[in-house]
């Protein structure tokens, strides 16, 4: 079963620890945080559960179709948007319980003071894409 662990810049339940954005941390704390993420991904490769990890920039735009022969319309970014995705990890694990366990672990990444940041991560199961052999 594949699960998406979604990390948000904003959105979700109220943060437990209100910490400053990464660019305001001491550089070695930033390094420690990033190293934690890297080690976590490596560990999941080792357990045979890693699928993908990506981060996305804060800046982007909304885009939509605007009619035949016309260029797409872009809009944003919207600073006030409630929810902003920061990145994700995709894992392939035996159960929902294991997905929750791993998300909990990932959420213990060290923050600006070296203590776990207790950040909320969103866990969502993937819908299976391949047609099944059975009915």
């Amino acid at each position: 079963m594949k699960y998406l662990l979604l990390k948000h810049y904003r959105g979700g339940p109220a943060p437990v620890v209100d910490f400053a954005p990464l660019d305001q941390w001491a550089p070695e704390k930033v390094d420690a945080h990033i190293q934690f993420m890297r080690d976590f991904a490596d560990k999941l490769v080792e357990t045979g559960e890693f699928v993908d990890a990506q981060a996305v920039a804060q800046e982007g735009a909304f885009v939509r179709f605007d009619g035949e022969g016309r260029p797409p319309v872009t809009d944003g970014p919207f600073a006030e948007t409630k929810d902003l995705v920061a990145g994700w990890m995709v894992i392939d694990v035996e159960s929902w319980e294991r997905a929750v366990e791993l998300a909990g672990e990932l959420s213990s990444a060290p923050g600006p003071d070296g203590e776990p940041i207790h950040e909320w991560l969103e866990v969502r199961p993937f819908l299976n894409h391949a047609p099944s052999g059975g009915e």
Partner: protein, 394 residues
């Protein structure tokens, strides 16, 4: 033969036997399996240009060399000799077939299911790690680790330890249901592995499993419409069912049932055979299907079986009877909402059915299923808009 049957299955057929040869020459299972995998990858590289006269002998020789290389570098690393003779024993390769033992080992109950699936596909199916990774949409490194961890877990379990066929059958059915889509057709691969299993054991459940797979596989072409759209059984174009495959499945099942040792796969195959036997959906013998669900429920006690049984009761005895049977089923089951919506529509409650299908779509576990259920809800909403509610007669 075609050049080594690389596209077909020829070279893969040899993999379990070659692992068995290495193990009998003194290699442990984990190293033997690694060596054969490396030899297999080498075969893919060089056989297209330079096909061997005797592919199996080539694979044995190459795998043994890979094994010895690994042992030498290991003993160099440890600074001592390991007790393995460099020269293979004289005489012909014994005709022992360890393939059945390999099935048991790879489906060992100590392994997580995903690991048992991967190891079975590699050591018994002869697929490469890359092929298995691609079929499961995970990186190759992840799959390689999943397989090595599985083998580490099996350390100390001898190849000839007594095995449990029911775990093997479950693993193969999992592979079958993982579906198809990438380069490797896992459903077809599961059928191949089940066919081979049936040749190795006369346990009726192995035959039951193969029969069940064939009866499902025979309907594959009719099960999806344009764009991968899901076509439910009742709406399938039955002229597209593979009658040869159905006949094979039915024969296998009859032989298995005659042994009088019923198991859950035989019972499931019997239900699939009754569906296959009906020329039109309306001719389906639902009464017999319900009887088989009763057997299956007695065998498994599975809540999913109880759910499917309720739908069959709805067909045999009317939608209200089906809804009554549903009352005993756990509403938390993944397809409960879909089954209930189906029965509600047949009972004439279009509004309730539409709401039920929306709920079911939200609980679907696959894209095709979600889309199908959403379409059903839309169809019912449209029907409710265009005609005033007119309950069907039951």
């Amino acid at each position: 033969m075609d050049t080594l049957g690389l596209n077909g299955e020829l070279v893969r057929e040899f993999v379990p036997a070659v692992i068995g040869v290495l193990v009998r020459r003194g290699a442990d299972f984990a190293s033997a399996e690694d060596a054969v995998q490396e030899a297999l990858i080498r075969a893919y590289e060089i056989w297209p240009q330079d096909p061997p006269r005797d592919p199996k002998a080539w694979l044995i020789a190459a795998a043994w060399r890979k094994f010895l290389d690994a042992v030498r570098s290991e003993s160099a690393r440890r600074g001592r000799e390991l007790a393995v003779d460099a020269e293979p024993p004289d005489g012909p390769v014994p005709a022992t077939d360890d393939t059945l033992q390999l099935y048991f080992l790879c489906a060992h109950p100590s392994l997580p299911q995903a690991a048992a699936v991967a190891l079975t596909l590699r050591a018994v199916g002869g697929l490469t790690t890359r092929q298995i990774a691609t079929a499961h949409l995970v990186p190759e490194a992840t799959m390689a680790q999943r397989i090595s961890r599985a083998k580490r877990k099996l350390e100390g379990v001898p190849l000839d330890a007594p095995g449990d066929l029911s775990t093997v059958v479950r693993v193969l059915y999992l592979v079958f249901n993982e579906g198809y889509g990438g380069d490797v057709d896992l459903a077809a691969e599961a059928v191949r592995l089940a066919r081979r299993l049936v040749a190795l054991t006369d346990e009726p459940e192995a035959a039951g499993l193969l029969a069940l797979m064939l009866l499902h596989h025979a309907r594959r072409a009719s099960r999806t419409g344009p764009g991968g759209r899901l076509v439910p059984l009742a709406a399938q174009d039955r002229s597209r069912w593979d009658t040869g495959m159905i006949a094979e499945g039915v024969t296998l099942l009859q032989t298995a049932l005659a042994r009088d040792r019923l198991g859950e796969y035989q019972a499931q195959a019997a239900i699939a055979a009754l569906h296959a036997d009906a020329t039109t959906a309306a001719e389906t013998d639902w009464t017999q299907i319900v009887e088989w669900y009763d057997e299956l429920l007695a065998l498994t006690g599975s809540p999913v079986v109880a759910l499917n049984r309720a739908v069959a009761v709805g067909e045999a005895d009317g939608a209200r009877a089906g809804l009554a049977a549903l009352a005993d089923v756990d509403p938390g089951l993944p397809r409960y909402a879909a089954a209930r919506a189906y029965l509600l529509e047949r009972a004439g409650d279009l509004e309730g059915a539409a709401t039920g299908y929306v709920e079911a779509a939200g609980a679907a576990t696959s894209v095709a299923e979600r889309d199908h259920l959403t379409r059903e809800a839309a169809r019912l909403r449209q029907a409710a808009r265009t005609s005033p509610e007119r309950p069907r007669t039951l």
